[in-house]
């Protein structure tokens, strides 16, 4: 192992391309007096701006009985205030040539506008208004919750893989609130009331629970002045204490067999792992990230080479690790068996891959390739203004912090082959593992 590591470092010094050291635009952070965080990433390549308001609230703050409430509230945020009645927000943004929408995740609810940079004040004024003055009305709610149920039918109920994964999540996350779907369980949507929403809005939509992220053709100081003007007067509110939920790390091996009307068998294997927010040792999430790259960073990575080509046991297969999460996370594999191969075949092949990393580690060439790819990808991400704002918002709402972006490259470079093997041995273990088989029954047609 020592020797391999030595070679890895040599290769890296030889070929780590000097041009990768790009000057990253400076990110600046301010705090308003009411506790609201403002983060600005100047990027002057085009005269546009992405403006986002992120709230530290999402499905992982919910409990069974009221799941889906963060997401329904996100929909209701478009239903108007006294000053800007229903539809006005969207109409004004459209009139300004803007694009807007919102999204809800496990750890956040976010609202965004993309506009010509000089229109930023309009977006800020409107967001500030609905942070405080939302007018929740029974008639709107009754219709909108129907819309959300349609969204659920569309995304989950009529999609066998999504439906199977929804059930799998309850097994993979035995206690973690990540077990609940972001859109909410249908029963909870049916039981939801206006009063619930009102409470949720009052409780979480406060400047001291929000982060304004602005990326694009702006100057940080100008954004600070605008943020003061529009958000500065909104009073802070006492926020409920958030206790980190209990997550079971090693509850024991689990397996769920889901039979659904479908055509395609599907497999997932996932392992409970730390995220950047929960890792006891800061290098571990980076080592897990590199591991995902070695297994599935491209067509030359192990899974494609050996399972799709090579043994031809998978028609498609992938590995995924999400380091950016507020609670502990999952390292997962998923895929479809090749024709004439079974879920059991694919499962065995994937578990063998896991065993190989645990026992034999990875070689220097694989390590270097995965790192080069990740560092290049990290640079490519600078091409998208929207994505840069997204990254900042996600890092902030998960408690990891945007400064992670600054150290990403160095942290990835510092990962050793031993560390990759170590996290595989520590985390890709049976007591942390859950397996899903989606067995199709008699087709979706007819």
């Amino acid at each position: 192992m020592r020797r391999l590591l030595y070679i890895a470092l040599t290769l890296l010094t030889l070929s780590a391309p000097a041009a990768l050291a790009v000057e990253r635009p400076e990110i600046q952070e301010f705090k308003l007096n009411n506790g609201m965080t403002v983060i600005v990433r100047p990027d002057h390549r085009a005269p546009v701006v992405a403006s986002m308001v992120w709230y530290r609230i999402g499905s992982s703050y919910e409990e069974v009985g009221s799941t889906g409430i963060s997401h329904v509230l996100e929909h209701m945020m478009f239903k108007g205030t006294t000053r800007y009645p229903a539809g006005e927000f969207s109409r004004i943004i459209a009139l300004q040539g803007g694009r807007e929408n919102a999204f809800t995740g496990r750890d956040f609810t976010a609202y965004f506008q993309q506009l010509a940079a000089d229109r930023l004040p309009i977006a800020l004024e409107l967001e500030a208004d609905r942070m405080r003055n939302l007018r929740l009305q029974e008639a709107d709610f009754k219709k909108e919750v129907q819309v959300v149920m349609e969204e659920r039918r569309l995304r989950t109920e009529d999609n066998p893989i999504a439906l199977a994964l929804e059930h799998f999540n309850t097994v993979a996350n035995l206690l973690s609130p990540y077990r609940n779907p972001i859109v909410g369980w249908m029963e909870d949507l049916q039981a939801m009331t206006m009063a619930d929403l009102q409470r949720w809005y009052q409780r979480w939509y406060a400047p001291n629970n929000a982060i304004l992220v602005v990326a694009g053709d702006v100057e940080p100081e100008a954004v600070r002045v605008l943020a003061e003007r529009y958000f500065g007067r909104i009073p802070a509110r006492a926020l409920p204490a958030v206790r980190k939920p209990i997550t079971l790390q090693t509850p024991g091996s689990r397996r769920i067999e889901v039979s659904l009307p479908a055509e395609l068998p599907y497999l997932t294997i996932s392992y409970e792992t730390p995220s950047m927010a929960t890792a006891a040792e800061a290098w571990e999430p980076y080592a897990l990230t590199v591991l995902a790259g070695v297994l599935d960073g491209g067509e030359s990575a192990r899974l494609s080479s050996e399972l799709v080509r090579g043994r031809e046991v998978a028609a498609g297969v992938g590995a995924d690790y999400s380091a950016v999460a507020r609670l502990s996370s999952q390292f997962s594999f998923s895929g479809y068996p090749a024709r004439n191969r079974t879920l059991a075949d694919l499962e065995a092949a994937l578990l063998e891959q896991v065993e190989r990393v645990r026992e034999g580690g990875i070689n220097a060439e694989e390590l270097e390739r995965a790192k080069n790819q990740m560092i290049a990808d990290h640079l490519y991400q600078l091409d998208s203004i929207f994505y840069q704002a997204m990254q900042i918002g996600m890092l902030e709402t998960t408690g990891i912090g945007w400064r992670t972006l600054l150290e990403f490259e160095d942290r990835i470079r510092a990962v050793t082959a031993e560390q990759v093997q170590a996290v595989a041995r520590r985390y890709l273990t049976e007591p942390r593992r859950a397996i899903l088989h989606l067995n199709p029954i008699s087709g979706g047609q007819g």
Binding site: S15, P17, A19, L20, R45, P47, V48, Y84, A86, G87, S90, R91, I92, A94, L95, Q96, G97, G98, R99, N101, L115, A116, D118, R119, P121, E125, L126, K143, Q146, V147, E150, E151, R153, E157, D158, P160, A262, E263, L264, G298, E299, S300, S304, V308, R309, E312, A315, G316, A338, N372, I375, A376, L379, Y380, D383, S384, I385, G443, G444, Q445
Partner: protein
Amino acid sequence: MRIGMRLLATLLITLLPALAAAVPPIQHWTLDQGARVYFVQNDNLPIVDIRLTFDAAGARDGSLPGLAQLTSALLDQGNDGLDAGEVARRLETVGARLSGGSERDMAWLQLRSLTNPAALEQAVDTLTRIIGSPDFPAAAFERQKARMLVGLQAVRQSPDELGTRAFYRAIYGDHPYANPPSGTEQSLPQITRDHVVNFYRQYYTAGNVVVAIVGAIDRTQAETLARRLNDALPAGPAAPPLPPVQPLAQSQLEQVPFNSAQTHIIIGQPAIARGDKDIYAFMVGNHVLGGGGLVSLLTTTMRDQHGLSYSTSSYFVPSAKPGPFVIGSQVRNESAEQAVTVLRKVFADFLQNGPTQQQLDLAKRNITGGFPLNLDSNSKIVGYLAVIGFYGLPLDYLDTYLDRIGAVTAKDVQAAFQRHLNPAAMATVLVGPQPSESAQ
């Protein structure tokens, strides 16, 4: 509201210069063998995007739907004696990313690389082997065909994909656009390796490619790069024009039985081709009707007014030959009949009356004001270059875009919609359980 409007008045003054500055200068040249090159130098990031677009997609499948997509997927599965893993390794070791695909008009390969000389050299060298020396190994051929058949299983469990297939079949009849680019259970088994080799020889030629380059290289480097790509390709002419599209003769109702919680509704017909003079009026009109997001007529009616659906929209696909105009929605099954009635009514009213002045202004402002957003990244710019090159749009397409949109009147919209759409000959596809009898 008041503040918003006041801001608007001030800001409109500063709008135009900002927009003009957003359009990057496009350099264009053609190589001897016919490759058309479009280049934008952008030094902001040390990266380059190279997009090769071939007239080698589903519309060229002939009697073997899926042939173009299979060929496209096999390009990098063994080249110059190197196996697929080695080809991928050469790209991935230097951090390059290759993607590709094939729909109805266009087959494309896109390479993103760092511009540091060693990385770029290795990435470009690999790309020339991919386009110029594919081996189409027999094992890769069989494997990829089998994977496409698994892909068809995924289609069979997706009401949306099933509906789209039925829709194209219904509106295009004998035209090549009728075929699904990912093939059928009947066609894929008939495709042989020879078909793929011949398809490649015929369509992956220097005369049939558009090379779009955006990034931190200069003109000389771009010329060398384009020359190398061009020289790697077999010589050959551009593909011949596609046959004309026949309009639908009458309305059709196609019901695809599917065990789902929602009924998927697709309504439409062949509409408009790239380069048609009505295209700008059509864009503005569609924006009002169903392309403008949360404020469009279809969305506000179906979602806000009736709470019927999460997503309702209309779009059109300007293509080499008239591409489809589509109204799409998904609703709970018991509302399917009501939804079809509502969608048809919104459409018919719009066709008859056109947009109001207010709707027209809102759409035009959104399109023009949002124009810089279309050009705010290298990947978006390279996409535009590919479209401009592939469809032979004028080089000043982006420069004149705002004026063209600005000139559209309500009458233009109404006339364009009436010229290209016929409410008496629309196809309606419903995917869901127990399709309603009375929807017709």
